[in-house]
């Protein structure tokens, strides 16, 4: 049997696990590991410019591919810099394995140079964590880490590795286990048949049904099953911010996103529904508005692989704990069996009336059909997303940062496939977009990858323009530039009488075109609507260039609809600055 040092084992495990990229940054505590990677490891390493970007890049890679992202950082500041990215992945249930260096075992607890209690700091934002005590434990521990990260409700796993366990002069037998079993960890494999049967019955009895699908459907690879189930029943579907793409957005049955900035028709349909089928969604506060007023007439079926998500905020009438794939599969079988016995279900007349009502909502205030954004001489942010959608034929991977641009992208780019919309929904991390786009582009070099951002967010990780140069990741950055922290400004407009407390930059913004050029990329500014499509096309035509499109937009536009809070229900929305439901 082969003898390897701890550092060499880590390099070998990454190969054996089929890891495609390591995103990381070297430092004292991980030098043995880096030396092992340098000497003999087939897995390419991407050197970021800040550890936060390593986690976001690994996260973007994981969201686009479904495989765990891998991060390698040093102890102390390397580890703490990774924290925001780990928390981002945790909130959105993204599989990730983070290897963090640690000071030598005998120095732990002595406030040694670059020492930090990574296990302690990361505890509330990881699915699990390990501290390596002995080099010979590395293969099994890493196998467990990959297994835990990717199974059940996925999430980030941290492995903290003291420097001495990676020493090159101490070698151990290496054997990588193919599978691993843990007595204390057994995620649900299938739903309870009785519950699925009950759910199928309730679903068929619905007169005003809505299917409410979230990120769990994307992560659990349940999109196809969900789509066929919805089509089979002719039931309307709404997606959460995290679920966009799990049901084709261009389909007639799609109501758009729901929630705080959800579509009028989606929020109205939810509020007036009698049965809600919630799949891989968690009734987040950005969805429900006031919980006590949430969908008063609805019976709720809730499918989720994580039992803690069920009845956490909104009580479920029929909870089903299980992976969306197997539950939806079984649900399909049960529905078919029930309909064979009772071919008149669901009630077609009721469903027809329900669709008529939904179409009326659509026609009056639908974002894609009825209500449009305000007319302006300036470029409207929504027009930029529409242009992006046209130019990329709706097929791009779109990452975003956080703020107004994120909501405009979610509303106006119609995602027909899962894993194409990549954003920080739970934590809401500004600075996510560019490094995430990098990770996606590395995974899919032949696909169009766009990062929709704003001048606030992009500056939170703009140093990654350098990484993009080094690894030739020609993403397209669409900067919706309004010279304000837009979403902050919107709230200040609406709730603080337009007092823009620290949400402007006082002419301190850089010349973005020159800035990206300094990194070796292409920068273009767009100021006129007439030029928008042409510039957008030009940008995407430059296949091997990173292009930064600095689009000067109307700074006064708000994101609508917007839930009225506090004390509002799903149906209470601002539809424009002076129009409400």
């Amino acid at each position: 049997m082969e003898l390897l040092s701890g550092g060499e084992m880590i390099a070998r495990v990454l190969e054996d696990e089929g890891v495609e990229y390591i995103f990381g940054y070297p430092g004292g505590a991980v030098l043995h590991i880096y030396d092992a990677l340098f000497k003999d490891c087939k897995v390419p390493h991407v050197l970021v410019r800040h550890e936060q970007a390593a986690t976001h890049a690994a996260d973007g890679y994981a969201r686009a591919t479904g495989k765990p992202g891998v991060v390698l950082v040093t102890s102390g500041p390397g580890a703490t810099n990774a924290i925001t990215g780990i928390a981002t992945a945790y909130m959105d249930s993204i599989p990730m394995v983070v290897l963090s260096g640690q000071v030598q075992s005998h120095l732990i607890g002595e406030d040694a140079f670059q020492e930090t209690d990574m296990i302690g700091i990361s505890r509330p934002i990881v699915k699990h964590s390990f501290m390596v005590k002995r080099a010979e434990d590395i293969p099994v521990m890493m196998k467990k880490a990959f297994y835990i990260a990717a199974s059940g409700r996925p999430g980030p796993v941290v492995i903290d590795i003291p420097k001495d366990v990676t020493r090159p002069d101490e070698k151990f037998e290496y054997r990588y286990p193919r599978t691993v079993k843990m007595r204390s960890y057994a995620p649900a494999q299938r739903g309870h048949t009785g519950q699925v049967k009950k759910a199928a019955k309730l679903l068929l009895s619905a007169k005003r049904p809505v299917i409410y699908a979230g990120g769990g459907v994307v992560q659990g690879e349940g999109s196809e099953l969900l789509t066929s189930l919805a089509r089979e029943l002719n039931y309307p579907v709404t997606n959460t911010l995290m679920g966009l793409g799990c049901y084709p957005a261009t389909d007639r049955q799609f109501l758009g996103m729901l929630g705080m900035h959800g579509f009028y028709e989606a929020n109205m349909a939810m509020h007036h529904s009698d049965v809600i089928l919630a799949v891989g969604a968690r009734f987040d506060d950005r969805v429900t508005n006031t919980v006590g007023k949430f969908c008063p007439g609805a019976k709720i079926i809730h499918i989720d692989v994580d039992p803690t998500s069920i009845s956490k905020t909104v009580p479920a009438d029929i909870p089903i704990v299980g992976p969306v794939q197997s539950v939806l599969e079984e649900m399909g079988v049960q529905l078919a069996a029930l309909r064979e016995k009772e071919p008149d279900l669901p009630d077609r007349g009721a469903l027809e009336r329900w669709w008529k009502q939904i179409d009326e909502w659509r026609a009056t205030h639908g974002l894609w059909t009825g209500r449009r954004y305000s007319e302006s001489k300036k470029i409207m942010p929504q027009q930029v997303i529409e242009s992006l959608y046209r130019v990329t034929d709706g097929n791009a991977y779109v990452t975003s940062d956080v703020g107004q641009h994120q909501m405009f992208a979610a509303q106006y780019y119609r995602f027909d496939q899962p894993r194409r919309w990549i954003n920080s929904g739970g934590l809401g991390t500004m600075g996510f977009g560019l490094p995430a786009a990098m990770g996606v582009k590395l995974a899919f070099p032949d696909s169009d990858v766009a990062c929709v951002t704003g001048e606030g967010s992009i500056q939170m990780n703009i140093q990654e323009l350098s990484t993009c140069t080094q690894y030739s990741t020609p993403v397209k950055i669409i900067n919706l530039r309004n010279n304000y922290l837009g979403m902050v400004k919107q709230w200040q407009d609406m709730q603080y009488e337009g007092r823009y407390a620290m949400s402007t930059y006082e002419d301190s913004l850089p010349d973005f075109v020159k800035l990206v050029e300094a990194y070796g990329h292409v920068g273009m500014q767009v100021t006129k609507l007439a030029d928008l499509d042409a510039k957008m096309e030009e940008a995407f035509a430059m296949k091997d260039k990173l292009v930064f499109l600095d689009v000067i937009i109307d700074p006064m536009e708000h994101v609508y609809p917007m839930h009225i809070a506090p004390n509002g229900s799903m149906k209470d929305m601002w539809l424009s600055k002076n129009e409400r439901t």
Binding site: R123, K127, S129, S184, P307, K312, P315
Partner: protein, 163 residues
């Protein structure tokens, strides 16, 4: 409502901090906490008491079960069970009160485990209520120190929490 939640967890470093961290992170309360290795040295038995409505308790048990280090869990208050809390209490025992302390200790079936010229240290085991009553009965006595183990519990009858 007060609940006694008891669990088997991996006897690994960090396991306890994950349990305790969960409570502070999610705003739940731990009233007592008791943890020690079992006959199987790879497993620890942790018993805690907490309070909350049914919805909260359901979330607490679900979250605890979700922790990778927690192997098995039971809410002892759901069935017949035995609970014991151990108290060591040091009191001033002088003059007439010295006899009074001894008598009260006997009534509660406690033991005086350390004797000094001016102090007694009493050991008392029982339900938390019983220990509270004893402390109340010592109202006239100068209590110097109280140490309690926190509740340890086990189901009655054949029901066991094991792998």
């Amino acid at each position: 409502m007060r609940r006694i939640i008891s669990m088997l967890m991996e006897n690994e470093p960090g396991a306890l901090s994950r349990v305790v961290g969960l409570f502070s992170q999610r705003g739940y309360n731990i009233e007592t906490l008791n943890v020690a290795p079992t006959d199987d040295p790879t497993l620890s038995r942790l018993t805690l008491t907490t309070a909350g409505d049914d919805k909260q308790i359901e979330q607490i048990t679900k979250h605890l079960n979700k922790l990778v280090d927690v192997v098995k869990l039971v809410d002892l208050t759901e069935g017949a069970h035995i609970e014991r809390d151990l108290m060591l209490i040091k009191v001033r025992a002088q003059g007439a009160l010295r006899d009074e302390v001894k008598r009260t200790t006997d009534i509660f079936r406690g033991q005086i485990v350390d004797v000094g010229p001016n102090v007694y240290t009493i050991q008392l085991a029982g339900t938390s209520d019983k220990l509270d009553s004893f402390v109340a009965a010592m109202a006239d006595v100068d209590i110097l120190e109280v140490v309690r183990s926190g509740v340890a519990g086990i189901s009655r009858g054949e029901k066991v929490l094991s792998l």
